[in-house]
């Protein structure tokens, strides 16, 4: 048990913080501690979790990606247009198109990073501007509301009436999110490719000498994020029942903050699916709780930002003291 706590320090710390916040919120508000609210939370944070697990893979592989949220917008938009052309389509064709486009956009990043040895933040900032600029130029900022019926109809997979008359429900985004989380977990913990991704992120040169195919690693990492961005984009369109070109603009930094809060390290080689999901949940729970506690919505971001800042400060300070060897390559005490 102690071993588990030590090797998953971030996850346990997050769980503890989430537990404390939940406890506090259940005392302060009467609405927080209910199944209905828990399911609301899951439904609303699904898309962010899909993005987050995708980004996690890139962070583990030692990269960073700023462009995925905008790529998801591009995928949404093109998918909506293509579906209009083929005359409606269905979930199967929609998911195929969105995944394909997402992987393609991810592969563009991977290609530039690998082929021309440009570092990932430069490439993705450039592609962020290219994707967003072109999307806004060709769409003229016009939203699409005329989506196929299958895409906009809410699909409720499970519903149950509570004793007090309120309904709890699990909708399609939650199911898709669970599949994405499980798939990512399988990829990074149960496959050789996953181990290679960690190794590559931790020490690219070492990984190369060990015979790991660097190019394949880049394409897998960015392709996976592209896949998740594509699926997340489609699910977001389903959830919002519209495609707004700049709706996801700015989401990338929020998701990045959540993923890193969950223990992934900028620089690679570290991070877990559980931590990543908990990071997103911590932020949504805080926002949800503040909302229920009657705090002005304008103050949400301020409080969330302060929490992340404090969390990063504390976790970094502590990890450094816990691991003396970290001090050699980074510390200055």
């Amino acid at each position: 048990m102690r071993n588990a706590v030590q090797s998953h320090a971030t996850e346990f710390a997050l769980l503890a913080v989430i537990a404390i916040i939940c406890l506090f919120l259940s005392i302060v508000t009467d609405r927080f501690f209910s199944l209905g609210n828990a399911f609301d939370l899951l439904n609303t944070s699904s898309v962010n979790i899909i993005f987050a697990v995708g980004l996690l893979v890139v962070l583990i592989a030692g990269g960073i990606d700023i462009s995925f949220a905008v790529a998801a917008s591009v995928v949404q938009y093109i998918t909506a247009i293509l579906l209009g052309w083929v005359g409606g389509g269905s979930w199967v064709s929609g998911l195929l198109i969105a995944s394909g486009l997402g992987i393609l956009l991810g592969a563009v990043n991977a290609f530039l990073i690998h082929k021309f040895r440009i570092i990932s933040i430069v490439v993705t900032i450039a592609t962020f501007n290219i994707y967003f600029g072109l999307l806004m130029f060709f769409s003229r900022g016009v939203s699409i509301y005329d989506l196929p019926d299958w895409l906009t109809t809410r699909i409720i997979l499970f519903e149950h009436e509570m004793a007090d008359g309120s309904w709890i429900e699990i909708t399609l985004p939650v199911l898709v999110m669970l599949i994405c989380v499980a798939a990512t977990w399988l990829l990074i913990t149960r496959t050789t490719t996953g181990r290679q991704l960690y190794a590559f992120g931790d020490n690219p040169e070492g990984a190369r000498r060990f015979g790991i195919n660097i190019g394949a690693m880049q394409f897998i990492a960015y392709g996976w994020l592209g896949l998740m961005a594509g699926i997340g984009g489609l699910i977001q369109a389903h959830y919002a029942q519209e495609v707004v070109p700049n709706a996801l603009y700015g989401r990338e930094l929020d998701v990045l903050a959540a993923v890193v809060l969950g223990g992934a390290r900028l620089g690679g080689g570290k991070g877990s699916v559980l931590g990543c999901v908990l990071g997103v949940l911590l932020i949504s729970i805080t926002q949800n709780g503040l909302n229920l506690a009657g705090v002005s919505p304008y103050a949400f971001k301020m409080i969330v930002g302060a929490i992340i800042l404090v969390a990063i400060t504390l976790s970094n300070a502590r990890i450094e003291k816990l691991l003396p060897f970290m001090r050699q390559n980074g510390g200055s005490k």
């Binding site: 570092i119 933040i121 501007n129 290219i130 806004m136 900028l266 301020m302 930002g305 400060t313 450094e320």
Partner: protein
Amino acid sequence: MTAIIRRSRAVLGPEMAGPGLALFAVVLFFGLASPQFLSRATFGSVAFQLPELGLLTLAMLLPVLTGGLNLAITFTANIAGLTLAWVLQMNGGVDAGPFAFFLGGLLAIGAGAASGVVMGLVIAYTRAHPILVSLSMMIFLRGLGEFLTRGGDVSGFPAYLAPLGHGSVLGFPVPLLVFIGCVAIWHLLLTRMKLGFNTYMIGSNIEATRYSGVNTRKVLVLVYMLSGAMCAVAGIIMLARFNSVRVGHGESYLLITVLACFLGGVNPFGGFGRVIPVFVALVVLQLLASGLNLMGANQHLATAVWGILLIAVMILRYAAGHLKLLNRKKG
């Protein structure tokens, strides 16, 4: 001919090649493509649009040189603008005197510097990644600004502020003069002062710098403080130009400032990069936007072209490095 090239390279530095070439290409292309391009009007509009993005880019430059990043720049500028707006409103809004502006400006720069100091302290003492620290600071400042303004905008400033955003002295727009002044300060700081030298040192190798007796923590805190103060200058100019403060003004500039730095030859890992090439890169970006505008495209297409330009420069640099390597092998 080669002697001239070598000599100009020695004067301008290797970082100048990319932006210089791009400037030449842009002027040539649009000069041929559109007859109105090489006119006073184009350069006038560039001169008025350049400073906002430019000042924020200067704020981004120092942290990038240390191998970090400051993602909070735009919202630091907003908060500084709000501080100035608040002081002006406290002193009668439209009727506020010059002293109120002076005081407000000082407080605004103080507020910007304060946010920088907090980031610098966290980065220097906990060794957290600058992207994270500035990211959470950005989320915090955005929230703070939204909380204070309730998402609306603040306006109603004294009339003597208008020239700061729109006036010109001897044909030069005032914002441009402020920007050029700040470019000069940054240039002097980086080339003539110990702090600038230490900034490059930290970007190259922070451990070696610390072992050579430099107080790296102090330098980092100062770098982020100066970055925050420069954001405040941008915020003040933005207040005067829009005649209002709104949280989110200039938000779309955030990643473009990074793009401008890299386009200006700054090393993404820190340690290398100079102010003047970055300035030229900014001029290139604005000329591109104006040229495309003349040809009937909009700002969004310009943004896309800026991204393509960055990738093109990076690919060219890769190709140039490759060629050099090939030549060396042959010789």
